[in-house]
């Protein structure tokens, strides 16, 4: 699963640590999601979508 978190975060001038704090996870988790090493749970995906003011499908993109 691909995602646009790096771009969306950069648009807002947030560091990974900023986003991690807002989302209530570790910076390592944000980094792993951005690099595609880890897919977030649905509750965390919703939390991220809320933080960016977007729908989940506007952030996370199916590879297939």
């Amino acid at each position: 699963m691909r995602n646009r978190i790096t771009d969306l975060r950069a648009e807002r001038g947030w560091t990974q640590a900023d986003l991690a704090q807002r989302a209530g996870v570790s910076r390592q988790t944000i980094n792993a999601i951005e690099t595609g090493k880890f897919d977030p749970s649905l509750p965390l995906a919703f939390r991220l979508a809320r933080l960016f003011g977007l729908k989940i499908e506007e952030i996370f993109l199916d590879d297939q």
Partner: protein
């Protein structure tokens, strides 16, 4: 908030770990050094160790719940590898011992120590994988 919860759960787990280790040491060395092998005192020491051990299990469960989802995954993967090594290695030893293939007895304390090392390696690998 998340970080505070993790810190709190980690602190509690540390306290329970020290308490468990202390009661284990008491149960192990007490009969020889403190109460001259009186059975009643030894039973009490073992019971206290088991009760504190149950507290440690509860604290560890709460610690896992307090972690964020990636940290929990890393921890669970490491625990799965540790359980697998203990299970497979333990049964392999039992079978080899039954078949008379083991030349000398292995100290039973070696298994938990081995599992500790396996867990630390698996945990470090997980941390590196998701770096």
């Amino acid at each position: 908030m998340q970080a505070q919860q993790e810190l709190k759960a980690t602190g509690r787990l540390l306290l329970w770990t020290f308490a468990w280790a202390a009661t284990l040491a008491l149960a192990k060395f007490g009969p020889r050094l403190l109460w001259d092998a009186q059975q009643a005192a030894s039973w009490v020491a073992v019971a206290v160790n088991v009760v504190v051990g149950i507290g440690w299990i509860v604290a560890f469960t709460r610690f896992l719940r307090a972690l964020d989802e990636l940290q929990r995954k890393i921890m669970q993967d490491a625990l799965a590898v540790t359980l697998g090594v203990g299970w497979v290695g333990g049964f392999a030893y039992v079978v080899a011992d039954t078949a008379g293939l083991v030349a000398r007895d292995v100290n039973t304390a070696a298994l938990p120590a081995l599992l500790g090392v396996v867990f630390m390696i698996a945990f470090a690998v997980g941390k590196l994988r998701y770096r």
